[in-house]
């Protein structure tokens, strides 16, 4: 699984981190600037949960 965070769409809701703190790390100001990454297999469900929590739809899950 690949996670793609669109940093330009991120408005700092931090709901990704609220839903999945193990997967989505925030900057000090509360923005997600993780870019593209592959979560560990045990974190895949959490990655999806965090992506689903983003009001900006800034996080895309690519199943591969």
């Amino acid at each position: 699984m690949k996670v793609v965070v669109d940093r330009n769409r991120c408005q700092g809701h931090a709901t990704c981190n609220l839903a999945a703190p193990e997967v989505y790390i925030l900057t000090d100001d509360g923005f997600n600037e993780m870019g593209i990454f592959n979560p560990s297999p045990e974190n895949e469900a959490l990655a999806r949960k965090g992506a689903l929590a983003c009001p900006e739809r800034a996080i895309t899950i690519v199943e591969e």
Partner: protein, 405 residues
């Protein structure tokens, strides 16, 4: 941020470009059944066309569907936030900052507040938040009842705000009075006077902070003013935006949450049996009981989802309807703490995302945790009727509660 009902008896003629079949008579300050349930009359709009026009309040569109609201809020160059209020604030009055500032200037103002309201900073304040919430609940509990709006929903956020911006708690009496008046008073003169008094108070605070800066948010704004980054008018306006944006919204949601819980023993029991549910309960309350009606102004002619709109048209975004849209949530009128997701736009979407969202969530969660722990059973006082309202924000103005001693 609050704006009262219009006294305009005249109803304008819809402009020529508005199709007759999209015109409805809808005064968003006086929505049917709002006194009983502020969301009911709004939800009925989902039985009609997605985009409608009302000749009330100067005439404006209403985007009733979540997808359209989302699109409009993302497309800020077409849907400008200036002016915001419907009806528009009188010409010559200062713009609300940063509410009425569009990108790219918007970021300039938001950057003053963002570092101080980050999740990390708020997390460090959490013990103080909890202590303050507990104090308020413990003070009320022995009475066995209260009028929740004036005795809790206004005072608690006011006190939190005063602590957060390092203002004297002795000012709480005046500030509670101003906030309660601006939110709930039926008289437009009273509301205007309270608003002006708050403005004067904050201008004096900024003046003081310019001379004696501290580490708080208003000192940061005052420092920016000293450095010529923001002018005096905008600085005072920003103070007002932060105050009302931070307090009145919390007050409104607290009142609606508690009106609901007073009538639902099942939900109260869920929270009492599993206090860890409070986090998701807050999200579900934000989703089900969104409170805001936002204004926009078109900067250009546009065909928006098949509807012709013209430059200058006012557009109302009732973003609480996003959470009540069947396209977004199954059984949206049901409160369910166990939904798969609660992806709402109660804090907005796009560049105006609520700056206070990281403070609001813990504030509401801690409130639920500590209230239910101490007062798990409560109901509407016998013989009494809660009174709700619609307007720029939905809320209950009057909520008399009782609980076992």
């Amino acid at each position: 941020m609050s704006y009262g009902p219009t006294e305009t008896a005249e109803v304008m003629q819809p402009p020529a470009h508005v199709p007759r079949e999209l015109v409805i008579d809808f005064d968003f300050y006086d929505v049917p059944d709002a006194a009983t349930d502020p969301h009911l009359g709004w939800k009925k709009l989902h039985e009609g066309p997605p985009i409608v026009f009302t000749p009330r309040n100067g005439g404006h569109w209403i985007l009733t569907r979540g997808a359209h609201q989302f699109a409009a809020m993302q497309d800020y160059s077409i849907f400008s936030s200036n002016p915001f209020n419907i009806p528009a604030r009188p010409r010559g009055t200062p713009r609300t900052v940063p509410l009425e500032v569009d990108p790219p200037d918007l970021q300039h103002y938001r950057s003053l507040a963002i570092p101080m309201l980050s999740p990390k900073v708020i997390a460090a304040l959490e013990p103080h938040l909890r202590a303050s919430v507990i104090d308020h609940i413990e003070a009320l509990k022995p009475a066995g009842g209260c009028e929740f709006v004036s005795e809790f929903a206004v005072p608690m956020p006011v006190d939190l705000f005063l602590r957060f911006v390092e203002l004297p708690l002795e000012d709480r009496g005046r500030m509670r009075e101003w906030v309660h008046t601006v939110s709930c008073d039926p008289s437009p003169e009273a509301r205007a006077a309270a608003h002006a008094a708050t403005h004067k108070y904050l201008s004096d605070v900024l003046e003081e902070r310019r001379k004696n800066p501290g580490a708080d948010l208003f000192s940061r704004i005052a420092a920016a003013e000293n450095d010529g980054l923001i002018d005096a008018r905008d600085a005072a306006s920003m103070g007002l935006n932060i105050l009302f944006g931070g307090i009145e919204t919390t007050t409104s949601l607290l009142s609606i949450m508690m009106r609901f819980l007073a009538g639902s023993p099942a939900h109260r029991r869920e929270l009492a049996e599993d206090p860890s549910l409070a986090k998701d309960a807050v999200e579900e309350f934000l989703r089900r009981f969104g409170i805001l009606n936002l204004g926009r102004t078109l900067t250009t002619d546009i065909e928006f989802y098949g509807t012709q709109m013209k430059k200058g048209d006012r557009v109302l975004l009732p973003i609480h309807l996003y959470g009540l849209d069947e396209a977004n949530f199954e059984n949206p009128m049901t409160v369910d703490f166990h939904r798969e997701h609660f992806r709402h736009i109660a804090f907005g979407t796009g560049p105006h995302r609520c700056l206070g969202s990281h403070l609001a969530r813990p504030e509401l969660r801690i409130f639920l945790e500590e209230w239910i722990r101490r007062i798990p059973d409560f109901s509407i006082a016998p013989g009494e009727t809660p009174v709700g309202r619609s307007g720029s924000a939905l809320a209950f103005n009057y909520l008399p509660l009782v609980w076992p001693g």
